[in-house]
Subunit: 176 residues, 2 copies
């Protein structure tokens, strides 16, 4: 399936709504547990999504659009800088932040009225090498979906001992 | 984390709401594609969830509660019988069916006011052997979460070629 704005944008628009319905006022026991070690909790994952809205997807797209004639190099995404930004915020605060930023970012994306020529603009990703604007935008969608899957997995694992023999039918419980 | 009604039920209650927000009026291109071969589309997965509400979780729990003194054997879950039930239904129809059945089933679960003694009731699962009511109910929750993760993965894979080099950062795209 080809990435197109009219099919990609509805998925991007729905992610904060889905997360809000899932987590607003849900008990803390589901928000802060992770998969062990330094792995991420649902709370941390939502913080990561907010941080991506502010520093990653749209700023990178903007950089490409503003320099159509010289290939730019993205600033590395700092996976840990979100800790500072999340300080003192509740899950509900983060869900609201995510929804607000996402709405603003989708408005920006729509306002660009991107052409096929612009979709083909290139940049250098510090770790991945040459990428296009189309790939960036498709990755934004897949990034949302990856983290929804991750959140499901983190929550499911909280019951890994409780399901007993059903564990055999639930590969999600032993995956990372 | 121990399975408890007060933490498990909110997750069960939210699944149809989450799916509704995610898929209601979403374009067909996201509903009917799968991961290749005989794998499941989001439409098929929602049909599977409806079918589970009607034939699996609560009927099995009921069987256990109605025969506290003799261990019952569950009827095998027919993974393909849902095809007949889904015939002619749109995704939105299935989302509504799922929401209605889930509300009804959670009402039933709450009305039982289960005791610790009942949580320990046993049954024979035709493939897994001896299971308890607590394990059945915990598995109901994990089953929801597993299918949310699966739906995310199926959707993500529709852009597997579109993300280009980002594929390296997205293990979901090469997983089953």
């Amino acid at each position: 399936m080809r990435f197109e704005l009219q099919s990609g944008i509805p998925v991007l628009e729905r992610t904060p709504i889905v997360l809000n319905q899932w987590f607003k006022n849900l008990g803390d026991e589901w928000l802060f547990e992770n998969e062990g070690g330094e792995s991420w909790s649902p709370y941390y994952i939502v913080g990561h999504l907010v941080y991506g809205e502010i520093t990653d997807w749209i700023p990178r797209a903007k950089l490409m659009l503003e320099h159509p004639n010289e290939v730019q190099t993205f600033i590395s995404f700092d996976r840990f800088a979100q800790l500072e930004m999340s300080r003192g915020k509740t899950m509900d605060d983060q869900l609201e932040d995510f929804a607000e930023w996402r709405i603003k970012n989708i408005e920006t994306l729509k306002s660009w009225n991107l052409t096929d020529e612009q979709f083909a603009l290139k940049a250098n990703h510090p770790e991945l090498g040459e990428v296009t604007l189309r790939q960036l935008l498709a990755s934004w969608v897949v990034h949302d979906l990856s983290h929804i899957a991750q959140i499901s997995r983190v929550m499911a694992k909280q019951y890994r001992h409780e399901v007993g023999p059903w564990r055999e039918f639930m590969p999600l419980l032993t995956r990372y």
